[in-house]
């Protein structure tokens, strides 16, 4: 199908996953991502796939662990509190070097929080979340089209590097409806010689495991895994640079915050203020290089987030604190407004950002 359809972000993730060869979905309903599970429940039985509503998020992620070990494309989804429950399983999947896709349609926290959109799971997604030294590839969609495109990419990257990948969205992305061109159905092309899917008496048993009782061996697996992470950092950084050529000030924002930021930039440019945007599409690996380069050109950074300020740490690190970095944020399910971004930017300019 090459024609556009009108979809909710949550549905776009589901359909894109199916078209990417994901025939196994395990989840547990939670607002604001429930449409994803509902879509899977409707579609999977019709196409010979598996939809299973587990008894909890913990069992859902461990079902993902199992299917990933068998070498099949598999996905689970939830929203913030549910993703916290999945962290142990995510760490095991990372520790067993398995590809899987985890979707977090974030809502306000901490705790049970609320059901309105948020970006406050940034630290959890990019800095660990579970225990041990590991990373997820973390993709942040900013439109329903990207919900579809990045889901497809998440499966490809997860397979390519044998790492779990996360789609880090938020309640607005999950709920909003936009026209979308769905990816063509495509097959998995990566050879998974490590999968546990029967030896046919032709090879040694494969073992899926994250337990290493010898510290020397465990250290070696960590070192080797970080070599792969290095490749990911070199090859898989994705970002959008918007009106940065002549920019004197740089907004850094992802997801819904980047959409609001673009409107603020349009308004400020009309007033003659030269503002641009760097929108990370991968937040791990973080687009360090473009921000470091911008730090030599611009007079200051404004980090727009739906949190108490999490990505701002990565912006400060990437810019090596060469220029001021200020925060423009709302939390708990609130979204920064265009006016708030303009006001924060002007305040930074008046404050003598150089």
């Amino acid at each position: 199908m090459s024609e556009k359809v009108l979809m909710k972000g949550n549905e776009a993730i589901a359909e894109s996953a199916i078209r990417s060869g994901c025939l196994c979905y395990f989840g547990y309903p939670i607002t604001p991502q429930t449409e994803l599970a509902a879509y899977m429940a409707k579609r999977m039985p019709k196409i010979g796939g598996v939809f299973l509503q587990a008894e909890s998020e913990i069992s859902a992620i461990n079902m993902v662990y199992g299917v990933a070990g068998a070498g099949k494309r598999v996905m689970t989804s939830s929203s913030s509190p549910g993703v916290s429950l999945k962290q142990e399983g995510i760490s095991y999947i990372a520790g067993a070097d398995l590809p899987a896709v985890i979707v977090n349609v974030q809502r306000g926290g901490p705790g049970l929080g609320g059901i309105q959109p948020s970006q406050s799971d940034y630290f959890q997604a990019t800095k660990g979340g579970g225990h041990g030294d590991y990373h997820l590839i973390v993709l942040t969609p900013s439109s329903v089209q990207e919900m579809a495109d990045l889901t497809s990419l998440a499966f490809d990257l997860a397979d390519k590097y044998r790492v779990p990948a996360m789609l880090l969205a938020d309640g607005t992305m999950g709920q909003m409806m936009e026209p979308v061109l769905l990816p063509e159905p495509h097959d998995v092309t990566v050879e998974k010689s490590w999968a546990v899917c029967g030896t046919q008496m032709k090879r040694e048993h494969n073992i899926i495991n994250s337990l290493y009782l010898s510290p020397e061996v465990l250290e070696k697996t960590n070192f080797e895994r970080y070599e792969r992470y290095k490749q990911i950092e070199e090859n898989e950084v994705r970002y959008e640079s918007y009106l940065m050529d002549d920019a004197e000030y740089c907004i850094v924002a992802f997801g819904i915050a980047a959409r609001v930021a673009k409107n603020a930039i349009t308004a400020m440019r009309k007033e003659g203020i030269k503002v641009g945007l760097i929108r990370p599409i991968t937040v791990w690996p973080f687009p360090v290089k473009p921000i470091r380069e911008a730090a030599d050109k611009v007079k200051g950074f404004v980090c727009v987030e739906l949190s108490m300020g999490q990505m701002i740490d990565d912006v400060k690190l990437a810019s090596e604190c060469k220029k001021p970095v200020v925060l423009c944020n709302r939390a708990g399910g609130m979204i920064p407004s265009v006016d708030q971004i303009i006001e924060t930017t002007k305040k930074m300019i008046e404050g003598g950002a150089r």
Partner: protein, 214 residues
């Protein structure tokens, strides 16, 4: 014009928007109107978003007490019975999507059938991925009818691609809508389109503003 009008259909086919527009249109004719937001499925976008505008127009809004309060508690208000029991005014019912949303309607069905002065409208958007064909649209229809134990009496074609919709996109679905009418034996009451898009005999709709749109 029936006293009770119910809008049901697949998720995201535009039920809420049409219900709000229809209630306002009835009110413009000087009629007493109440609108019931009985969507127990989706806590995000709903008729209650337009409650200020509706109330200002003199329309009574009956909504879930916790809708839009960030409490995801799908309870139905006791006042909702007045929609089906108070025959002195027109009632517009906005029902949640799919069969899941239609379950909430069940408890009001005996009153609606007893009064027997209703139109149950199937709202369809052929650009929605699970209702792109006539056959799929018929399937969803059957699921809703089974869930709420009422039969549809009419169809409204609200096919659109959101902000990218053109009049040609809408026109391209009219044959499908007629086919759906033929297959089900139901009249196609109208093809609707957003105001700036509507032309010819399309019924223009004012879009409901969403909370995140400035």
């Amino acid at each position: 014009m029936k006293r009770v009008t119910l809008f049901c259909g697949h998720y995201g086919s535009g039920k809420t928007n049409i219900a709000v527009n229809y209630a306002l249109a009835l009110r413009e004719k000087g009629l007493e109107v109440a609108i019931g937001d009985l969507d127990i499925v989706n806590p995000y976008f709903r008729s209650k978003d337009s409650s200020d505008e509706l109330r200002a127009a003199g329309i009574e809004v009956i909504a879930l007490p916790f809708a839009n309060s960030s409490v995801d508690l799908p309870s139905l208000p006791s006042q909702a019975y007045s929609l089906v029991q108070n025959h002195a005014r027109y009632a517009v019912l906005d029902i949640g999507g799919d069969d899941r949303g239609a379950y909430a309607l069940g408890r009001y069905v005996p009153y609606i059938l007893e009064e027997n002065d209703y139109e149950m409208v199937y709202v369809v958007n052929f650009y929605r991925p699970l209702t792109t064909t006539v056959q799929e649209a018929v399937e969803v229809m059957g699921e809703i009818e089974t869930a709420c134990r009422m039969k549809f009496t009419a169809i409204v074609n609200n096919s659109n691609l959101g902000a990218e919709t053109t009049a040609d996109d809408v026109r391209a679905t009219m044959a499908k809508a007629q086919e759906l009418g033929r297959v089900t034996g139901l009249p196609v009451l109208a093809t609707t389109a957003e105001m700036s898009v509507a032309e010819g005999d399309m019924i223009p709709l004012k879009l409901q503003k969403r909370p995140f749109e400035a």
